[in-house]
Symmetry: C2
Subunit: 367 residues, 2 copies
């Protein structure tokens, strides 16, 4: 029954539903139109192409940035970007969906990263190792691959970086996945907790929360969060800080979560492909630079980027393999390798480095 | 460059992108409006309610059925239903998202079923056992739970049904998840395969495919597909039929998949909640009927449904517990317990049964 029109009156449910039904009909009609236009993009020689033939990461990044720019609520950017990724994914997959290799088994963070980046209208291939992800993309069995490269508790995943020393694959995207911390315990209530186990890094991540909610609890550092969860399993007054999946593994319950102070606690993944894509307007370039062991070599390699106004986001050195090279550096720079400033900087770096490989230029991760 | 307007000419890419950009802008504006209206539904006493307070499965089912009815391509029903589930999920989660318990760890089919039914804008709680899923929903730590109840290779999951013998929870939804079969092998090519291992049921599911692509291969029945995958690991001329996740576990590759003949190879899940919801227009009712061991008892219990034109989709008997009851039957009937025909039938059944429990009336699974 409609209520009197008082300012706090609850709106008439039936009326609201009629409005929503009308909106849904329009959304559906627009999605239909969008799918038709996407077919037009995918039509080569009058035949509908496989998704890999017309997938353009730089174009997708531009579309999503526009979504974020236009957004003035009530939904947040992350949710809207997810909805548009799914719409694009569905439109792209009309003929033959993208095949994406990832570090399996199903349910890993890598699989989450695949869906976050490519949407759900893809064919996922869970693989047994990072090496196999590279191989399957190289062999063409997968169109793209997704591998973890950095995470906030373990740092850089060296085995991923090392694959680039020999692989010809290109980086054509990055994905950032938030990692959430929970307070896990077999106890039922927060008030019962007198000790908390966690890796020092996890304590640091949840400092403000612990100060507010467990100011008197003893904080006991352990070598890994899994180790902390194991210990918490044996006591009624103990808890551990860990990801929610540890709750299932160790038979604990989440008393609170997410409890990390900063929402930017993330794992970073790289998207591997066989070719480089054009600039999207906000890109990052990953370089592998081999240099000779001589005084000032690194300085000479880095100077050109500073000179051309390009900022370095990350540098990671790798020990030398005898004979081939003495040092290798993985360097991330803001910008795209096809842009003028980067081109000029790369030319100059070339003079001082033994070899410079552009591993990829790709859109900076969105939401 | 725009081409001449020949019938087979590829449309101008820039033009198409302008069209798509305009469509995206409209879709985004409509999603914004939808989210605003959803807030209106969720506003109780001028304050935005938690999702669980205004989640209505029967309404969602109606919205999705309308999406399917309206659909005339090019996207298929399943993809469109997924997009609309995500849009509804995002709109619902604006204040506090639904908390959904499921049989963990993350990455299981149960988690896939959760996302399929509730979209991704929820808070998932991976739990260690089916029993725990029931407990967490009963205790109110989870708003809903999702548990498997039947799958096409193993049949009914008795432990799930048995929970209803003592639990007060209600079934308020069902989810059907397709399960795909792959041909897994360590060999690189289909031509090398001379033997295929699989559970007899899996052979039956892939009969047409095997006849077409591996007519000469020897078919060797094994006790489980996992066992077949293990055997295939040891030979270059052998393959196994199994789900894709077995590829990672046993270090095999998929030579082909999905290879099942019928696309309706599914696992069925139940959604558990604490209350019953009104009819959606196309519902199923699950009953638990305890009957005395006397001649014709089952016949008398089933007759009223037939009489009132209600079809039975499924019946499953459970052995008796001494003293309490002699036989229990789980029965699924088309229709909703609040509808007249079902009401009358239930009244009549009551006369012959020792006890009749309505476990739930819920929308039939969509796409």
């Amino acid at each position: 029954m409609p209520q009197a029109n008082a300012p706090e009156a609850r709106p008439d449910l039936a009326q609201v539903r009629v409005q929503i039904d009308g909106i849904d009909q329009q959304i559906q009609d627009l999605i239909r139109q969008r799918a038709h236009w996407a077919q037009q993009v995918g039509k080569a020689k009058g035949k509908l192409a496989a998704a890999v033939d017309y997938y353009r990461p730089e174009r997708e990044a531009q579309v999503l940035r526009r979504v974020v720019d236009r957004n003035d609520g009530p939904l947040n950017d992350e949710v809207l970007v997810r909805l548009f990724r799914e719409i694009m994914s569905a439109c792209l997959a009309q003929q033959e969906p993208l095949k994406i290799g990832f570090l399996g088994p199903e349910g890993t963070h890598s699989q989450q990263a695949v869906y976050k980046h490519f949407g759900h209208s893809i064919h996922g291939l869970p693989l047994a190792s990072i090496e196999e992800v590279f191989q399957e993309v190289e062999a063409g069995h997968a169109d793209f691959g997704v591998v973890p490269v950095e995470n906030s508790t373990q740092g850089t995943i060296q085995s991923t970086l090392d694959m680039f020393l020999t692989s010809k694959l290109k980086i054509c995207g990055e994905v950032e996945l938030r990692v959430h911390q929970h307070l896990l315990s077999r106890a039922g209530r927060l008030e019962d907790i007198e000790r908390v186990y966690a890796h020092p890094q996890s304590f640091a991540q949840c400092k403000a929360w612990l100060r507010q909610y467990l100011p008197k609890a003893e904080k006991i550092p352990v070598s890994s969060n899994a180790d902390g969860a194991k210990r918490a399993r044996n006591a009624d007054d103990a808890a551990a800080i860990a990801g929610i999946s540890a709750a299932t593994v160790y038979g604990l319950k989440s008393l609170a979560g997410p409890i990390e102070d900063r929402p930017d606690n993330t794992t970073r993944f790289l998207v591997l492909g066989r070719e480089l894509f054009p600039p999207s307007g906000n890109d990052r370039t990953s370089l592998l630079v081999f240099i000779k062991d001589q005084p000032g070599a690194l300085y000479h390699v880095l100077a050109p980027f500073a000179k051309h106004g390009l900022s370095m986001n990350r540098i990671e050195s790798r020990p030398g393999h005898t004979g081939l090279w003495q040092y290798a550096f993985f360097i991330d720079i803001t910008g795209h390798a096809q842009e003028d400033a980067m081109r000029r900087a790369l030319d100059e770096v070339d003079e001082f480095a033994q070899e410079v490989k552009v591993l990829g230029s790709y859109p900076v991760a969105i939401a």
